[in-house]
Subunit: 361 residues, 2 copies
DNA sequence: ATTTAGCACTCTTCATATAAGAGTGCTAAC
DNA sequence: GTTAGCACTCTTATATGAAGAGTGCTAAAT
């Protein structure tokens, strides 16, 4: 292998993140190549690249550049006599420094906003957002349920189910509701439960779940000596509910859209992907990483670290209530996706969802 | 086409339902053919059928019988030089009168029962039943959420969300919970809501939703003149909640298992099927039809009336609480499935789910 | 009258061969 | 530094032929 002509800056995690040191021509050609490939889905050869690019170069010259890009790991060739295809790293350079995102028409934004208006409770806002994303991108939409830790407790109710089982109902933030069955050590009378709920509501209504957690721990310590059975019980319930309320989850929509892409024409690949959707664990882990991000975050191909997502890209954006990030939404599709369209859509949808949630306070 | 030698009884809906008039030999051969095809997934020829069947016949004789079965529409041939494959009608005759179901080992039943024990609330009982079905049959499991009309109201709570929005929480039957956002005509104070809930609980706790509906109508009529604003409001809330509580739904599990079958190797077929799963409408309509059945009910291939389910079979059984049918569960897979195993599994699971729901009362 | 052996026939599947086409890498000329 | 030319590789499509599976029909056997 000959040494590369151009230097590419590598980030801390060992991946290409910048093309500052790629010369003008190489950048231009990489950009055009990615655009062509995203548009047509076919490996693009030197000939058609010469035609598509504004540069006035012969195919032979272009072939030289392509060889360099290939050495840098930005493009690859399916076989000798096919054109070049971007690698995950190639897409990364494209997204980071070559891409100019399309601005959404304001009427288009209006349309999105309209879809997220709180008219009619069904289906829920999260599900509508997820469907919206999948519908407008023709890929799969993904919206995590809001984090309870950062969510505000609005109300808690206890309902006796049977002997030792109590149903705890938490109204969170807004109309999001979580139900949890709690197995208690002893039976509780209805009046006892009502009082427990009353106490908890008076203490913690409007508090975040983090604060609730702390308050519960504190109260349990204080109550050590002179604990009434009721307080003790209420605390137990709250803590247990708190624990089971920490489950992360997401709402997925439009998976079937992915079946239209040739990338997933291999049914075993497709199956693994869908199993990952159903399993949720890996996706949730990935989405959790996006919670810390300020804005749109993208995983391209193997960057995710999960084999199943080998030829998938995940475009995400966190959504906020009261300025605090409480969840993430995004779109999942083949690495070969129209990033310039998808990125602003995800970005705007996150903002609109946050706004919709806020307006419900 | 030559005329058929054997008469097949046709049921009211125009489908073959009985093979009483098929002679002994034809029945035996059809049975063996279906068994072979279910086992191997290959069209079965006269030669191998001669070997597999207990009958001591030459391939040539068998070919004669096969020609008759083909005329009757019970088997078909993919092409000239392939063996025969059962049609939907062929499967129907097999299931109705040729099949002997396998009895489940009692230890196997124990294992199923164990999986449905109410230990740990997560995931919910319905979801566990659905997963159970998909896991043990290696196909897709399906469980409808219980019908609210026949369900018993255990408790209702109202929570004020914002100006004109009230969250109604219905605890039904057992730990099943439904949340509904109600848009009210005017704001309600917390105390008002509490009283409304108290009133409704005192009136309707333990009643079925049908009775609730009647009670609501009656109370609204009585209250016409001397209606307190509170009663009126409570009634409105209850009625609206009632209306939105009528939505049917199901829990699906193990769809990805279907991707392993050659029947769904065509990705466009697969996509349509998965879209039907997501759409839910058609499946629900089909499942509704099974509510009236006493026991296991089966749709084979095009019997369902939906094109997407062309090469699917759906095996269902209603489940009961307090002797009343409140829902349906089942398994969906290719028409080529091991009916002798699946039928008792679905049957038993329905009983076990009913029992598990009952034991929670 | 039923059953069966024999046989011609059809259709699929697999392997092989061939030609066309696309695109490359290299070299030498511009 | 750029490009034309060219040999080379690899894919794709198409044709061909042989093997194999299974059928339907007919005539002989039971």
């Amino acid at each position: 292998m000959k040494s590369a002509k151009y230097v590419v800056i590598i980030s801390v995690d060992g991946r290409v993140v910048s093309s500052n040191e790629l010369n003008e021509r190489a950048q231009q050609l990489l950009k055009t190549l990615v655009e062509c490939y995203i548009r047509d889905g076919q490996p693009v050869g030197s000939r058609s690249l010469a035609r598509s690019s504004d540069l006035d170069l012969s195919p032979a010259s272009i072939r030289n550049v392509m060889a360099d890009l290939e050495d840098l790991g930005l493009v690859t060739s399916p076989h000798t006599s096919a054109g070049r295809v971007p690698t995950a790293q190639g897409y990364r350079v494209f997204v980071n420094s070559l891409l100019q995102v399309q601005l959404l028409e304001s009427e288009e934004v209006q349309r999105l906003r309209h879809q997220l208006e709180p008219e009619g409770a069904r289906p829920g806002l999260l599900e509508r957002a997820s469907r919206l994303l999948s519908g407008v991108t023709r890929m799969a939409g993904l919206v995590t349920v809001p984090r309870p830790e950062q969510a505000v407790l609005r109300q808690v109710e206890f309902v006796s189910l049977s002997e030792n089982r109590v149903l705890a109902i938490f109204v969170i933030n807004d109309s999001e509701v979580q139900n949890h069955v709690i197995h208690t050590g002893r039976p509780f009378a209805a009046a006892e439960l009502t009082q427990a709920a009353k106490y908890l509501n008076s203490q913690f209504r409007g508090k975040t779940f983090d604060e609730v957690r702390q308050g519960v721990v504190q109260a349990m310590r204080d109550a050590k000596d002179n604990a009434t059975s009721l307080l003790q019980a209420a605390m137990n319930l709250a803590e247990e509910a708190q624990r089971s309320a920490e489950q992360r989850d997401y709402v997925l929509a439009g998976q079937t859209n992915l079946m239209g892409f040739s990338e997933f024409s291999n049914i075993s690949t497709l199956r693994q992907l869908f199993e990952a959707f159903a399993e949720k664990r890996d996706l949730l882990h990935l989405l959790d990483q996006c919670l810390v991000s300020k804005g749109v975050q993208i995983f391209i191909g193997d960057e995710s670290g999960y084999d199943v997502l080998g030829n998938c890209s995940l475009v995400t954006a966190p959504y906020r209530v009261d300025g605090k990030v409480i969840g993430v939404l995004g779109v999942i599709g083949p690495t070969r996706m129209a990033y310039d369209r998808v990125i602003p859509i995800v970005d705007v949808t996150a903002k609109l969802l946050g706004a919709a949630l806020n307006s419900r306070q």
